[in-house]
């Protein structure tokens, strides 16, 4: 991988040992009549929309009869890109819904679920869908494995999303 990086012309911004991806997702506290914690999916996609890494999906994993899986299709873009091909739960990816606040997630290169990303341009996508609520996608473009910090903000179902490659 280190040999390939200079060839792609990413030398300036690329420390030799870039290998970790940290994502934070702020789930906003909402003042609504009926609140349910959102279903959230986090993944990395290539410029053509193909999924490079399926990082997390938070849903009602504890309902009986796997009832929570019935609503996974409401994380619509994630369902199309990767969810519909999977069997649940997915080890290291499936998890219960999270409460409002900032969630911090660390992913190491070479380890599941990030795996080995080839050097190149990617988009981090965070999608939230809330029962009797709305749906929102927040995207951050990044170049792997160039060290970088970036932030994007949702307007309704997601607050700030940050990405750090180091």
């Amino acid at each position: 991988m280190r040999i390939a990086i200079p060839a792609l012309g990413l030398i300036a911004a690329t420390p030799a040992a870039a290998a970790n991806l940290t994502v934070t997702v702020d789930i906003p506290k909402l003042d609504v009549a009926e609140y349910h914690k959102p279903y959230v999916a986090i993944w990395v996609e290539k410029p053509d929309g193909a999924v490079a890494a399926n990082l997390a999906v938070w849903y009602d994993t504890r309902l009986k009869e796997k009832e929570g899986e019935k609503w996974l299709k409401d994380i619509r873009q994630w369902w199309r890109r990767v969810g519909r091909e999977l069997t649940f739960p997915v080890d290291g990816v499936s998890g219960p819904t999270r409460a409002p606040g900032v969630q911090t997630l660390d992913y190491a290169a070479g380890a599941a679920p990030l795996g080995d990303l080839a050097p190149g341009v990617y988009t981090l996508v965070v999608e939230a869908a809330r029962e009797v609520g709305g749906r929102e996608l927040v995207k951050i473009d990044f170049t792997w494995p160039a060290a970088a910090k970036a932030e994007a903000k949702g307007a309704s179902e997601l607050g700030a999303v940050t990405l750090e490659v180091k």
């Binding site: 009869e65 009832e67 609503w71 996974l72 873009q77 199309r80 519909r84 091909e85």
Partner: protein, 271 residues
């Protein structure tokens, strides 16, 4: 009202319920969802013949001719079927992962003729037509009427086994999967007539929720040499797709023309 005129009224109503021309009311089956997750999803459907899409305002679709093709290609069954004043309803239990085809398939005959100076009409099965027309009828016009009204739903990843053409009448086969449609994206399908590419056929597509806008928003495209046509979805929602081929010679009925009609309801999602 005399019994005779009541019977006549019934006959007229049945005719109206099973339109024979493209200008007639629109037939449709709408699903509560087309993209499903989980191990045990159900979909509930409305089936009707209406003017406005998709409001049941005219006549319920009869459920006898509804055929379900399961993801493995075998024949499935609808449940909880009921027919009301303006619509029929039924459920489908998605017991297998993959794509299901739900189709109302009609393969019948139609006749119009003059008898004793009166214009008369008859509709029924193809093999009844020989005995259905009185001997003193004149100006007899016979039509073999094939129709297919479809909708597709998918549990999990889309599959194509259930979408295989039967080789009879006008049919649609996917290039783009019909349960993978998104606003702003182009989708391509192929029309087949008796299993062969149906070229130069006009395809109309109309969005639902007609009551809440002023325009009909009907658009048209035409199939190419390979029977293919492409639609770029202008918005998310349910769309009604219709195509018909008329004036074909009928192989099933002597001295008859054949008409083949195809309708599908597609759900287009927001990306």
């Amino acid at each position: 009202m005399s019994l005779r005129s009541r019977l006549a009224l019934v006959a007229v109503t049945v005719l109206a319920a099973t339109p024979l021309t493209a200008e007639a009311h629109r037939q449709w089956i709408t699903p509560s969802a087309t993209v499903l997750s989980g191990d045990d999803p159900w979909v509930t459907f409305d089936a009707a013949i209406s003017n406005d899409l998709f409001y049941p305002d005219h006549f319920p679709m009869q459920l006898e001719n509804v055929v379900v093709t399961l993801p493995d290609g075998s024949v499935g069954a609808i449940e909880n079927g009921a027919t009301g004043k303006y619509r029929s309803v039924f459920d489908l239990h998605l017991t297998q992962p993959g794509t299901y085809r739900i189709a109302s398939v009609n393969d019948g005959a139609f006749a119009s003729y003059q008898q004793n100076g009166e214009q008369k009409r008859w509709r029924g099965k193809k093999d009844e037509i020989g005995t259905a027309i009185p001997a003193d009828a004149t100006d007899v016009k016979l039509t073999e009427a094939q129709g297919r009204v479809e909708v597709f739903v998918t549990r999990g990843a889309p599959t194509e086994t259930a979408l295989a053409a039967t080789g009879k009448g006008l049919e649609l086969v996917p290039v783009t999967h019909p349960n993978d449609l998104f606003a702003g994206e182009a989708a391509t399908f192929k029309l087949l007539l008796d299993g062969q590419p149906a070229k130069g056929v006009e395809v109309a597509y109309v969005p639902g929720a007609a009551r809440y806008r002023n325009e009909s928003s009907e658009a048209k495209t035409t199939t190419g040499e390979d029977g293919a046509f492409t639609i770029t979805w202008p918005s998310a929602g349910l769309f009604w797709i219709e195509a018909a081929v008329e004036g074909l010679p009928s192989a099933a009925i002597e001295n008859a023309q054949r008409r083949a009609m195809y309708v599908a309801v597609f759900e287009v999602l927001n990306p």
